[in-house]
Symmetry: C2
Subunit: 362 residues, 2 copies
């Protein structure tokens, strides 16, 4: 690769407009401008039908003329309702959580709730800090990814007195509400799928090694053991974060220690696509020479050539359900749903990158 032609334009400084903060217009500014009391303005904005049409119109005019924007902080403090949902995800760059966050926004935004997202960088201490920070904003509910919070974080969440949803995985002992799927079962199923195709020399490529990846690997190990396979040389894993390039690298590593590998289960799709690229680069035909299965069923799995078989996880659905349950609890009767733990399962989507082992060869 060679970096070429760096274009960098001139920097013409535009006109300077300072505009530093004079006091922002408040409710009472609007009130005196409209010649009414502050309470009336407040009502006109929140419960318009409690205010006469006449005043309402005058207030609307004042609001627009003064460019009034209600101070949510003051509102939240006075009413003890913040209209805020706290969300903690381990990564912002992982496309898996993009789907998840999109679902949360899709549900909460129209409902008038704002989603506050903090990331934990896949670290328990950061997660605890994020949870604490979020709780300080008095969200009306908390939605966290995973089930591996620290004891202190758990305690904070339990004492917050708000609905708490743990997602993506199934917990034996949920804090409050739990929606997800069994990562162990999913890892087992992916491996079992390859075993049932007739393969035995099945590699596993894993990166980051966060709790969910570990559990998938545990599923892999369990399945392989059932078929009497020793997995020591078949696993290529690293703590580095997943990338396409790392997928290629780790796959190559696995291949080095197990040259007769027949199939590979990658712990996520990024690694799987990286492995696929590496196969193309080396002239290994997929699926003729090697079968590949990924995990998560990201969009590109259906488009790549060959299209990637993957384990589809209901990320959007998990977040959607979490959001809907939270909304029910928060504005509704205040009682939790009947089911405290919801298993949304997973699906193996079979595409072109896997096929049964040929009777004779690999």
């Amino acid at each position: 690769m060679l970096r070429k032609t760096c274009w960098q334009g001139m920097t013409q400084v535009p006109k300077n407009s300072q505009g530093r903060s004079r006091r922002r217009t408040t409710l009472s500014d609007v009130a005196s401008h409209a010649g009414v009391s502050a309470v009336t303005v407040s009502r006109a904005l929140r419960q318009p039908d409690m205010v006469s049409l006449d005043l309402r119109e005058r207030i609307d005019v004042s609001v627009r003329e003064l460019g009034y924007i209600p101070n949510q902080l003051a509102s939240a403090l006075a009413s003890a309702r913040t209209g805020t949902i706290g969300v903690v995800v381990p990564s912002l760059t992982n496309i898996v959580f993009a789907d998840y966050l999109k679902a949360l926004h899709d549900i909460f935004q129209p409902a008038g709730f704002q989603v506050l997202v903090l990331n934990s960088r896949y670290a328990l201490v950061d997660e605890e800090r994020a949870i604490s920070t979020l709780l300080g904003q008095h969200p009306e509910a908390m939605i966290v990814a995973g089930i591996d919070q620290t004891d202190h974080a758990r305690k904070l969440l339990e004492n917050a007195g708000i609905p708490v949803v743990q997602t993506m995985e199934l917990a034996d002992d949920p804090i409050d509400i739990n929606i997800g799927l069994s990562q162990v079962d999913a890892g087992y199923a992916a491996t079992r799928y390859l075993l049932d195709l007739g393969f035995r020399r099945i590699g596993h490529v894993a990166a980051r090694l966060e709790p969910r990846a570990r559990r998938r690997m545990e599923g892999y190990r369990r399945a392989m053991e059932e078929f009497g396979q020793d997995t020591n040389l078949l696993v290529a894993s690293t703590r580095r974060p997943s990338t396409f390039a790392l997928g290629a690298e780790m796959f190559a590593e696995g291949l080095a220690s197990t040259p007769d590998m027949e199939a590979v289960f990658c712990c996520n799709d990024d690694l799987a696509l990286g492995a696929l690229f590496e196969c193309q680069r080396r002239g290994i035909r997929v699926p003729e020479d090697l079968s590949i299965i990924g995990f998560n069923d990201l969009e590109f799995c259906a488009s790549s050539y060959p299209a990637l078989t993957s384990v589809s996880t209901p990320r959007y659905e998990i977040a959607r359900r979490a959001a809907e349950i939270v909304l029910d609890v928060v504005r509704g009767s205040g009682n939790r749903p009947e089911e405290r733990r919801i298993d949304l399962g997973f699906t193996i989507v079979e595409r072109e990158s896997t096929r049964p082992k040929r009777p004779g060869g690999t």
Copy 2:
């Protein structure tokens, strides 16, 4: 594709722990528990060296025992400092903004600022609403993607009395601070790069058609016109959001109207990779039969086979600079940087998917 084996476990309901909200512990709870005044507790938490070691320890114990979490809302209201930065991006799922958001978090989090992100779904009205909502939270600065805000949104931002950064593009008339690159120039450069390689039948594939994609297309048109090329049949565009599958589809469409296409400039990498997959599917060799250049230089460009040539945009850098400038202004002297408009440019990264036109054929 066939969907197979749906695993969905049993749903065992865990023990019910209701735990509804008793009043949360406040500063004065801690104060009376520790036998001091509320102010002292406040100080012990925010400026510990103003409080004697003795009291500080007693207070720390009380804080821990009562599980006290400061109410940020009240704090923000009283101090007029929210420690919050408002950010508006057009999409949460687009990996381009994942990089951007990561940079913002990387800079702001350690500095003690919280990033509030709202998305505008590539719609001006949604953006205006997002800006208004965010402003209601009294952020200490606003960072928005793009330069195409509505007049009203502009006015709100101008009147907010806080630093405002418009990013990703260069504006003729920035609201306040502006950091980005010229999308037109970048589109022009990508096209010019292919022209300079000797190609003339250069297709352009574009999706979503948000302002930046349009400007890249404008650059493409400008370059093509300089070389006397009519672009009418060469452009395949759609308002649908970019996906890998759409890249394949649109590329196929372009190929249908221009069978003798020699090269293609895709307005983003997702489309480019989709086009590459489609080539593989059809047995079109890249770059032997067709050259492909993408845009943004996402991580997979370097890993795909063949590796994709792309226009690298400094997304992380843009956000980083924006964040640093904001921090300077917010906590520092309060004065804006010398440069109100910063051009971070772009770079063409040449890889395997492009090569010079062969003298004889294509």
